[in-house]
């Protein structure tokens, strides 16, 4: 009890102290925006933890990717704001009429940071080393397993990758797969310098060499990673001289550092901190809809959730709006469908079940579920990018369900054990979520709801096995026409809405904060952090 008070007092003190500093500084600085971007300066970027490694093919964590985003490039890249796929290291690509052959034409005159020319051989090297095939690529066993390649099922998609000539790469697919091009914009398919990988082998992860706008300078573990402007960059050169990624694990201290000006930007912001940042005149809160979903999965093969009425009742019983207003503090959107509204293919025609306790009660009665029926609701203990306070969310849902006569017993576990438990499908109901990878609806709907994803270790935590949905999702994979695909995904969302394997809860916003003199930062739905267009307004 005492402890809690101590914390609150401290937070208040921190807020006051910070407000004091901010106020004093704003008298001089103000927030004028000079029209023209200015070159020069070092951007100090604070985050909660250090990168794990800097070989994009081996990494699985966001903090590593955010550094890689500035060091490496891919054949294709995302639009600045959306997940539309645009040319990057490839200037164009052709798709054969059967949808199985992709031919990429490469940009000329590009060099890696170590001077190695970028060419078709480098593309084949970067991707071929990740494939599971016999005989294995000479670098397949170097630096550990390529887990992201496997988790995106790339071996099921790709038959062969070859260099037709120095500036042309041809991908032969096993079956038409429309989301494939979007995968080529993801971090794990970034193009690395074959010379550098050959030179450093197992230690390449700390000698990253790409073609990106910034190049690597140094890495002091758990403290900082320093990048500098790549003077030979093929595109528009970055404004910043240097970028320093600093690991400051304690949230309060990180925000203090931003308010003090020790760092100029930061991530890892809780809704509570976001509120304080929004009020601080020296700081700017950056906010976009996140490409994620938090949901409650019900086991469709276990009572009481094997009855459709019960799952529908659950959907009527949960008051999402209050939940998002209260626990996400408004930094999120109540979820209707599995995919977020910002994603293409989202079906806005589907109306949410809506909060209706009376209807929930009558559906439960209809299903023959007695008031007071118990079940175990599993929830993770640690915050995730799609849910700031899982335990409190579970408690709010528990209270909602209690009013309609369902008794949820909350059970929580440490993250590692939790994943193991639910992926082994040992639960009845669980709260979990997903952060999208490549901006394609397939990456949500197929991964989380297809019957093939219900095999242990499962990602389909409802054990939802619908042949109807499976057919639609596979059709959407093999069709390359965007309009047809969007129609198929609308159909998929209708099926999911009808069968109600989940209670979709919320899509959480993506948040970052900078000092007012930092300009040009545009957050991306995939959480990519691209600093090439960022510039710092010098103090006048």
């Amino acid at each position: 009890m005492r402890r809690a008070h101590g914390w609150r007092w401290l937070l208040l003190a921190a807020g006051l102290a910070a407000a004091g500093c901010g106020g004093a500084a704003s008298g001089k600085g103000g927030s004028r925006v000079s029209a023209e971007p200015v070159s020069g300066g070092t951007l100090m970027w604070g985050r909660g933890s250090d990168a794990v490694g800097l070989d994009p093919a081996h990494e699985t964590d966001g903090e590593s990717y955010k550094v890689c985003d500035n060091l490496y490039e891919n054949l294709v890249g995302y639009d600045q704001k959306s997940t539309e796929v645009l040319p990057e290291l490839a200037t164009s690509w052709d798709i054969s009429s059967d949808g199985k052959t992709y031919t990429f034409h490469l940009r000329a005159g590009v060099r890696f940071h170590d001077g190695t020319p970028f060419n078709a051989a480098a593309v084949v090297f970067s991707l071929d080393r990740q494939r599971n095939r016999t005989p294995a690529h000479e670098f397949h066993a170097v630096g550990g397993p390529y887990t992201y390649w496997s988790s995106m099922s790339m071996d099921d998609i790709i038959q062969d990758i070859r260099a037709a000539d120095d500036s042309t790469v041809v991908f032969q697919l096993k079956r038409p797969n429309a989301p494939f091009v979007a995968n080529l914009a993801m971090n794990f398919t970034a193009i690395v310098s074959p010379t550098a990988v050959r030179k450093y082998r197992d230690d390449y992860f700390k000698h990253p060499t790409g073609t990106g706008a910034f190049r690597f300078v140094e890495w002091v573990k758990d403290d900082r990673i320093v990048l500098e402007r790549n003077p030979d960059y093929w595109g528009e050169k970055p404004y910043l001289d240097k970028v320093v990624f600093r690991a400051i694990p304690e949230n309060t201290v990180r925000l203090l550092a931003l308010q003090q000006g020790d760092i100029a930007g930061m991530e890892g912001i809780s809704p509570l901190e976001a509120r304080r940042i929004a009020k601080d005149t020296q700081l700017e809160l950056h906010r976009i809809p996140g490409m994620n979903v938090a949901y409650l999965a019900m086991r469709m093969d276990k009572p009481p959730f094997d009855k459709l009425e019960v799952r529908q009742a659950m959907n009527y019983a949960v008051d999402k709006k209050s939940l998002v207003d209260g626990l996400y503090m408004g930094y999120g959107t109540p979820a209707v469908n599995p995919i977020p509204p910002s994603m293409w293919g989202y079906d806005a025609k589907i109306a949410d079940y809506g909060y209706d306790a009376a209807k929930a009660k009558s559906l439960l009665a209809q299903a023959g579920v007695k008031p007071g029926t118990k079940f175990i609701l599993n929830v993770m203990s640690a915050p995730r990018p799609y849910m700031p306070e899982p335990l409190k969310v579970a408690e709010a849902i528990q209270a909602n369900l209690h009013t309609v006569g369902l008794e949820a017993e909350i059970r929580t576990m440490e993250w590692g054990s939790y994943l193991n438990y639910i992926q082994s499908l040992k639960h009845e109901a669980c709260i979990i979520g997903w952060q999208g990878d490549n901006g394609d609806p397939d990456n949500f709907l197929y991964v989380l709801l297809d019957k093939e994803s219900a095999r242990i270790p499962a990602q389909n935590y409802s054990a939802y096995k619908s042949d109807e949905l499976h057919k639609v999702l596979i059709d959407a994979q093999v069709t390359s026409d965007p309009g047809e695909r969007a129609a198929l995904y609308a159909r998929a969302q209708e099926i999911v809405h009808r069968d109600a394997p989940w209670v979709p809860i919320a899509h959480m916003d993506l948040l970052a904060a900078t000092r007012k003199n930092v300009h040009g930062l545009v957050l991306h739905p995939t959480s990519k952090l691209r600093l090439r267009r960022v510039w710092i307004e010098p103090a006048s």
Binding site: G6, L10, C21, R246, I248, V253, G416
Partner: protein, 338 residues
């Protein structure tokens, strides 16, 4: 003496072996599969299987232990499963930070704790005694995360004397030669960097030093009190020696053995890394690394880290035991007695 030393060093082998078994079994007993933890929400069957194979987790436990032990005996602790860096490299990158912080915290604790303890004993029952004892009670009970944040708010944000986090301002960084920043800045001949590193060191050392400071002042007080009542001290007073001579030469020297024991133990703890202090002050040391390794179920890192901490602890204890003989000639360190 040499025999004693030899025997103590020989004892290191079974100690470390025991620690290795313990570390290995504990990290493998903790629920949660490292492959699954690493892949998170996107673990699918093939990715998990590949990762487990790569980590050797598809082998029986005794085989895994034997592989670990035989490699460790050859000086190879393997690569961290999370970062793929050699565990030995991970440790040598972080140990200097922990060592500098531990030594600074200990200097504060001993430098203040021993004089305060002596003073409290000498003024027993007076207000000084009461103040020191109350202060040390508060010092032991204060949660470090609270104290650390308070120090930051007051001395860093408020007064602006000290920086908020890290070991050095990135703009003043010097090339790493030894990893010990205080040494490296001197080697580089950069006094401005040295000064900056010291300013970064001050607050975490102060926060980390409070508990040892309190413990040391309390043990000093009680140990000195005990000696003060002995007959030879009365004789020293009777000879008309000054208070300084009586306390420093006659009392403290004889009271030092238990104090030294406590200092040794405290130093051992400090060298194991200070998770909370390192987290608050963004100090890149061993403690936070070990914590993150445990959370990631990075068993290779945990095994290596625990072995290192155990080794450091044992060595510090050995040094303390040897020091007994230096300060108290009555203690003879012979092979037979040990």
């Amino acid at each position: 003496m040499v025999g004693y030393l030899g025997r103590r060093i020989a004892l290191l082998v079974p100690t470390l072996l025991g620690v290795s078994v313990l570390a290995f079994s504990l990290i493998h007993l903790v629920p949660g599969d490292p492959a699954q933890v690493m892949l998170g929400e996107r673990a699918n069957a093939r990715a998990v299987a590949e990762l487990r194979h790569e980590m050797g987790l598809d082998q029986p436990l005794p085989v895994q232990y034997w592989r670990f032990l035989s490699a460790a005996l050859a000086g190879d602790l393997g690569r961290s499963i999370k970062t793929r860096e050699k565990v030995s490299v991970e440790m040598t990158q972080r140990f200097p930070a922990t060592f500098e912080l531990a030594v600074a915290a200990l200097l504060i604790a001993v430098g203040l704790g021993v004089p305060l303890g002596v003073l409290a004993a000498r003024r027993r029952g007076g207000w000084v005694d009461a103040a020191v004892m109350t202060g040390s009670l508060v010092g032991v009970s204060l949660p470090i995360f609270w104290l650390g944040l308070l120090l930051l708010l007051w001395l860093s944000v408020g007064v602006g004397w000290f920086p908020l986090s890290g070991r050095i301002d990135p703009g003043l960084a010097v090339p790493s030669v030894t990893g010990f920043l205080l040494v490296d800045t001197l080697l580089a001949g950069r006094l401005d960097s040295l000064f900056d590193a010291l300013r970064h060191l001050a607050l975490p050392a102060l926060a980390l030093g409070t508990i040892p400071l309190s413990v040391i002042s309390r043990i000093t007080r009680s140990s000195v009190l005990e000696v003060l009542q002995l007959d030879y001290v009365r004789t020293a007073w009777a000879k008309g020696l000054s208070e300084r001579v009586v306390l420093a030469k006659h009392v403290l020297k004889n009271a030092l053995v238990p104090i030294l024991t406590v200092i040794g133990l405290q130093f051992g703890y400090l060298l194991g890394g200070a998770i909370i202090t390192e987290t608050i002050f963004a100090w890149p040391g061993l403690g936070r690394w070990l914590l993150l390794s445990v959370q990631a179920r990075d068993f290779r890192a945990v095994q290596g880290g625990v072995m290192l901490v155990a080794l450091v602890f044992v060595v510090v204890n050995l040094v303390v035991d040897l020091l007994y003989a230096v300060i108290d000639p009555r203690i003879r360190l012979t092979g037979d007695e040990a």
